[in-house]
């Protein structure tokens, strides 16, 4: 990845839940405005890894992170880092679409309002722009004030993405964002993810290898909390260096 600009650099990252070590000494680089896929069997630490990138583990009692996650040259695990500011810059889309129990508009405006945007005109603009970027505007522009939970699962997941985009992040983390969606919604979501890479750095956790192959530029393979291999997606899939990667990709375990 030498020719790429690095957005996040992870150095010797370890994660413990109490006495259990979920991540072991992980070091990797995440290039800017590219899609990096994290693959691996269930329980290998993919989601745990993703959550170290926006310090979501802070919420879990007993979780301890050791090592460095350097975002634009600054370790996010130093005391002086403002977690609110960090999470604005590093947004996250979770596994299950989670529309808040409020209107479509209020869902998208939730983040901007948290961060102090009050003016109606400005909010209107943000909401429209974010929904357009999430390819949802045409479908909901006449239903902005309806309950968001009436939307379909696929629409809700794009709404969640619009909600994340509305706080104007630089990095978007996605934790198996398509696992609860039907194939058509999944295809639309993948299209959207590829479009978003023009402006955002994306890290996506997926258990779907085809999905990783379709959307990502780089792929990292985790196994039992360890990083086995990372590289250009094509190389990982066509010409893996490690035997374990090859076994996983060819479906011999997982």
């Amino acid at each position: 990845m030498s020719e790429e600009k690095i957005k996040i650099e992870v150095r010797n990252l370890n994660l413990f839940y109490g006495t259990f070590q979920a991540l072991r000494d992980i070091s990797l680089q995440i290039p800017e405005k590219r899609i990096t896929a994290i693959i691996g069997p269930s329980g290998c630490g993919k989601s745990s890894f993703l959550r170290t990138l926006n310090r979501l583990h802070d919420l879990i009692p007993g979780a301890v992170v050791k090592g460095e996650v350097i975002l634009d040259g600054r370790n996010i695990y130093t005391d002086s880092v403002d977690v609110v500011e960090l999470r604005k810059r590093v947004g996250m889309v979770f596994q299950r679409p989670c529309a808040f129990p409020m209107s479509v508009y209020d869902n998208v405006a939730y983040g901007p309002r948290l961060h102090g945007v009050r003016r109606k005109r400005q909010l209107d603009e943000i909401v429209e722009k974010s929904l357009k970027m999430a390819n949802l505007w045409e479908e909901v522009k006449d239903r902005l004030h309806e309950r968001a939970q009436n939307l379909s699962g696929g629409q809700q997941q794009r709404l969640v993405i619009a909600r994340v985009l509305a706080v104007n992040p630089e990095v978007i983390l996605m934790d198996e964002p398509a696992s609860a969606l039907d194939p058509i919604s999944t295809a639309r979501l993948e299209e959207l993810i590829i479009e978003l890479k023009k402006n955002y750095t994306i890290v996506i956790v997926t258990h779907n290898l085809q999905q990783a192959a379709r959307v990502s530029d780089y792929t990292a393979f985790l196994l039992n909390g360890e990083l086995v291999e990372v590289g250009r997606t094509q190389e990982i899939f066509v010409n893996p260096k490690d035997k374990r990667t090859e076994d996983y990709i060819t479906g011999r375990f997982g």
């Binding site: 919420l59 009692p61 609110v84 960090l86 999470r87 979770f94 808040f100 983040g111 994340v164």
Partner: protein, 271 residues
């Protein structure tokens, strides 16, 4: 054989539900049939006279509204507040256990015991005398467990996914609580409050001992008063007027129903 057992069990279940509906209909019919002839503008808009033998029940309506209002005004913030603390902040399972057990116990204490406590504490120790305030505070104690428990359940029912999503957008714990968790739990919390209104508006023993039973419209929080259930109790137990007792019962039921209906509408409008 299996078929017969099935049929038998079904019959029992159906009969049980019919019985419940039947009892409800019987009670309501009795109160309506016997109470309705008493209902008139005069009955609703004048004060009781001659110990309740003549006149209306305006004083008791006012007393019930005031006492219930004060009870809820005190119990709702306390109950919701402690529910929020237990569900969102407390990390000590032991403390949670102790509080939960206390609340369950409180819910099981007979109302006359609350009345005695209110009498000793509010009426005598704090020197409030038999009063709207003492009655309201006693009822607040009675409503507290119900409000707390329903609020706890409502808050617990708010999926953790909401909290995670909110935090991941950069929200603090308090922002998440006030902008997302409480609004989402609001319908459930409201149901708890409605249930307690029904419970305390009809409470007799506890208010008899703390608010007194004097007639006359209360003019201040420290006035003694006779809420509807107490009035009903005295009319019936002292044989003053059975028909006025039924009239009073009908008004009490309708009052609670109207309140429930208003809240139900409010909930619909809000969501």
């Amino acid at each position: 054989m299996r078929k017969e057992i099935d049929a038998f069990l079904t019959a029992i279940v159906v009969m049980g539900s019919l019985l419940v509906v039947g009892i409800l209909i019987a009670i309501v019919t009795q109160v309506v049939v016997l109470g309705l002839p008493e209902i008139s503008w005069e009955f609703l808009a004048t004060e009781a006279a001659a110990g309740g033998k003549t006149g209306g029940i305006l004083n008791s309506i006012v007393a019930t509204l005031l006492i219930t209002f004060i009870g809820i005004l005190i119990a709702a913030p306390l109950g919701v507040g402690s529910a929020v603390y237990l569900e969102e902040y407390s990390t000590s399972n032991r403390l949670n256990g102790i509080i939960t057990m206390s609340v369950e116990t409180m819910a099981g204490i007979p109302s006359i015991v609350y009345g005695l406590f209110g009498l000793v504490f509010f009426v005598i120790m704090l020197g409030w005398g038999w009063s709207i305030l003492a009655g309201g505070c006693t009822l607040a104690l009675m409503a507290l467990p119900l409000i707390m428990r329903t609020s706890q359940e409502a808050i617990r029912a708010v999926s953790n996914e909401y909290r995670e999503n909110s935090m991941a957008l950069g929200a603090s714990r308090e922002q998440t609580l006030f902008r997302l968790v409480l609004p989402a739990a609001f319908p459930g919390i409201l149901s708890g409050i409605v249930l307690s209104v029904g419970r305390i508006a009809g409470e007799t023993a506890a208010v008899l001992l703390t608010a007194g039973s004097a007639l006359g419209i209360p003019r201040s929080l420290f006035d003694t008063a006779r809420p509807l259930p107490v009035h009903l109790y005295i009319l019936a137990s002292e044989g003053i007027s059975m028909s006025k007792a039924y009239g009073t019962a009908l008004v009490l039921i309708v009052l609670v129903l109207v309140f429930n209906f208003c809240v139900y509408r409010l909930r619909k409008i809000l969501s």
